[in-house]
Symmetry: D2
Subunit: 354 residues, 4 copies
């Protein structure tokens, strides 16, 4: 790290900082400028020591040089990680679409949704059994009953499923049924939940917190990898900004930033990211064009009667149209999408590189 001293810092102050750095195991390299002195400190293993220095007299600021994450970084592993959800590879050539209702409301609703999304080309079923809701008076999910429905529908339809865990105490139960565990945006920094979910060894879909920087998001993934589980899929789902015409602002540049810094796959949730089904279509296309490894989309057989997030849920027919629109975009960026006679193997014939 680099320690920038205040203009006018005394020689004693500079020496005291250097001594503290040496005490902490660093080698120091002072550079004396006309107005300011800076001290280069080598040996910063985990970017954690700045707090021990910043309060010393004469210090203006500390500039970290090393990234705070290790296990998730491209510097450690330069090849893309492929995470398998019940046999479906996420992070490879194929574009993976996960779809289904926001909440499991009943077996009929779930079965209808699952059949529809499978028919349109989705490869993973999504559906919430535990629902974290802003209001205590809103529908909170069917819990284990919902998990059982998901498991039965998986058998019936032949799609692996992903579902959210919201409490460390439920993680074993969720892991017993689900093919992958989702960590919601509001829990991105619920570190105990990250560790507990990570410890199951199941693939983890880690949604970006709605006010989390990309660095904090990668640090949250680091918690899971540090728990011994390398199967993490990142999911951009919109950040909170001043704009009110959409529920969140979908930060698609985050896809490329993540890919520059990490080997983990990254998908996009245009349903929560916009809050409006009409915006799901263009933003799903945009996410694929930006390089996302997949999408997670809310589809409900009857959005007008959904118990949860109806406004952002696609009707199965609209989802089918979306999948039709995605196929040529996926091809255009060299990705395959399994649907309607276009297979991953045919991908890239039009592709213009990446």
């Amino acid at each position: 790290m680099i320690i920038v001293m205040k203009p006018g810092a005394s020689r004693e102050q500079i020496n005291a900082v250097s001594e503290r750095l040496v005490e902490l195991g660093f080698k120091t390299h002072p550079i004396y400028g006309q107005e300011k002195t800076v001290i280069g400190a080598i040996g910063d293993k985990k970017a954690l020591s700045s707090e021990a220095i910043i309060n010393l007299p004469g210090v203006e600021k500390i500039v970290p040089i090393m990234k705070p994450y290790k296990l998730v970084s491209r510097e450690l592993k330069d090849t893309p990680t492929i995470v398998r959800i019940g046999g479906v590879p996420v992070g490879g050539r194929g574009l993976v679409v996960m779809a289904g209702p926001c909440a499991v409301e009943g077996e009929e609703q779930l079965l209808e949704a699952a059949r529809a999304v499978k028919a349109a080309g989705a490869q993973v079923l999504r559906g919430g059994a535990f629902k974290p809701r802003t209001s205590p008076y809103a529908f909170q999910g069917l819990e284990e009953k919902g998990l059982k429905m998901l498991a039965r529908v998986r058998e019936e339809v032949g799609l692996p499923f992903i579902t959210e865990a919201v409490d460390t105490r439920d993680v074993p139960l969720v892991a017993e049924y689900a093919d992958a565990i989702q960590i919601g945006a509001r829990n991105m920094q619920n570190f105990r939940l990250l560790q507990e979910a990570g410890a199951t060894g199941k693939p983890i879909l880690l949604k970006r917190g709605l006010a989390a920087t990309i660095e904090e998001w990668l640090m949250a993934a680091e918690y899971i990898l540090d728990s011994g589980n390398p199967n993490v899929i990142l999911c951009e789902r919109g950040i909170r900004t001043f704009e009110t015409s959409t529920r969140f602002t979908l930060d698609l540049a985050a896809i490329a930033v993540v890919k520059e810094n990490s080997h983990l796959p990254v998908i996009v949730d245009p349903s929560h990211g916009t809050g409006s089904w009409r915006l799901v279509l263009p933003m799903a296309r945009a996410a694929v064009a930006a390089g996302a490894d997949g999408l997670i989309i809310e589809v409900h057989p009857d959005p007008a009667r959904a118990l949860c997030y109806g406004p952002q849920s696609l009707h199965p027919e609209t989802f089918d149209r979306l999948m039709g629109e995605l196929a040529p975009v996926a091809l255009a960026v060299g990705r395959g999408l399994a649907l309607n006679g276009l297979f991953p193997e045919q991908a890239g014939t039009l592709a213009a590189g990446k």
Copy 2:
């Protein structure tokens, strides 16, 4: 609620919306404008039904009329709630200062901090035993050992203490020792944790999420009240904005907005809210002048060697100076502060009303 129809919505669409509203138990009052029709719907008990309407054909938007929270609202209870932490009333005339180290690092450090903050006038000790940290490689707290130290120092110094719970599974343990339970900003919408902490009956300090609107914050408090526990203290601790010269942007207007809408007490954390001890002093004064019921401040006997958030921790001497600065500001707004010979009873002699 008010349903605004799109310009050009057909009579059939308007009728379909009205019928659905009646089906949901509302009385409807259509108003036909030149360009748009709006439908007033009366009977909206919990502001939850808009999702059932928004997707109907011809609907442009839904405008809620009722607030989504009930139990925390001034409409339900117009007198300020006073919450007691080990006998110290929060929300009354007296201004309450809670202070102590970010993390409990050892008994000596804690005892020294506790004695210092008590001597300066603090009435509640704060200190973290479970620390949610952005990095898995950072100090995570002493856990139960830390709780025991807090309990011993409480006996020794005579200050009740507040400490954070970060996992539903730890709540019983924390409740066994602590006088009040803190819910951190990153857990504000960890609804299970809210319910579990609420169920202990202990006073709950609910920090505002760093991207939470005031309405969402009050909804989170509603979860706790709905669990049967009315002892909630709200804590503004800064929101995330584009400004980078402070760690967060302390939103002091939130104090007055909360007080307009809720009967719950609200305090301010200028330490996390600014991230820099130099800014703690002016922002603590400002918070009191804005009408806060109290402050929670990080004080460490040796900030330069703190294991956690040293840059924002006050040295005991600086804390003492701060308390000296707060006293006349508190008086100026009609609040008492127990210190240095100025007692709450004398407050308000200079006060210019509120």
Copy 3:
């Protein structure tokens, strides 16, 4: 508009509001709920009268029903507007790419850039002669000398050009040379500049302010249309958020929101929108997939020596690669891009609808 009265508003207060509304020319429709009364007010022509009501006793809030803009809205004109820059149509089937250096630094640099971008398929040249810079010590542009260079290069290369006006006093000069006038993000609400630029009749590229809501952006366009000039192209260029790994957060959902509400064409600036040339490629593809009518991209013959925004400028070879990547994405969404033997007429053969 809808006036929501406070719970407990008296009959006199309700009557006083109604009378004031009638005095302002509205018809009123009160709806009496159990807890609150709301008053529907019909006749709100310009959504401007709420300020006359909001301060009346007993009023809780005002809900506008009409949009505040008229001339830019789809409600007034439902067919897309096509704006021509020197013969190049923006807003039709073809995707228009505008490219060139951030600042005109000299005729050689400009000529080289212009030739390169034309060869790669750009249809409009961009280049700044007046540069608004954050620092008074940064390069401020060549001013009229720069405009003359742009005009000469236009002749030489055969590309119309767009350049920015930053001061009402320079507008006539800029209009004398340029094919289109750019209003920068920091001037989006410089209403005099909008009016002055609008009055020239030239096509106006209106960049979104970095903290402007989509509604405010459309209101700024309304100023130009209201000055009698219908030739406005909107340009999304990133908004300011808490995320620091990109200079701004490119809000691609804004494209679809604008298209839902307005007939004006909308393009995207991925160079300023990300601040990094590496992110320009994926975000340009994403913008096209999201439905943008075009792109404006910074290209510099030698980015490492650019006087302005080098880090976000593409080298001509990279720009050529980008254009190659855009072509199939454009085709995939039914848009044409004039380059390398792919012509707009061939567009859409793969297109999947909208």
Copy 4:
């Protein structure tokens, strides 16, 4: 500045960067760490050269060491600047309150407001003659007629006045009448306007842009000082955040951050900063407690009939109450406020230091 090389940057890349730095006039100090090399570059006069380096191969990032501003900085001038508006010193011991209507609507309205605010203790009259409005259909100000009214009322009541200039072409006219020129938030980076207003030599009130960082704000002030005019007063007026219950989020920590970095006085606008007159009172008190040198507040004789921003305007009686509330807060922080028999000379008797 510090150049951080990517991990794996080659010796040739490191040398090329060093050579370019030397070519630009820097002395270089490379530090070779285990994973990364950083190069210290001394001689960076204006923090402007990073763009010439950032695109060189192997460079990861540039860390500026010097602040980008000079003239406004405490490093150049450590004593507070006092700016006089018609004899009223801003930035000294006394707290200055500027008050009056948002817009000059007529002479009677203005006179009534001026008398009221003077009686309550305001020392400067504010009132807009040129109004930048979000909507082209809103009241745009009386222009020169308004300036003349302001001048007549100044004579009649004996208060200097401040008013806004929104166009470089109007600056001479405004300067002819006004005692101080206001630059609005939306024009903070209208650099030509800054230069033109600066060149009049009149005191300039520079409002913070609603998405401007404190550093950008100081850079804008630098433009004015660089034009030869040292009489700049900064004005915090709220920044744009996701919170919607207030119009803006008033960033009071900015006061202390500015004072740490600059010698310029800083005042606060709680009217625009909150958008609601009820919040003006607590936030005005908070601003004073945080160390503001003054306030600018909207007062209208009949807020319910104001042509502009009625909801945030104080009735004269409420303003009088506010001034009464401010006096003890000002005293508490060692500042004087001229009103009701309390004079600046008596200030500080209760003050607890800074």
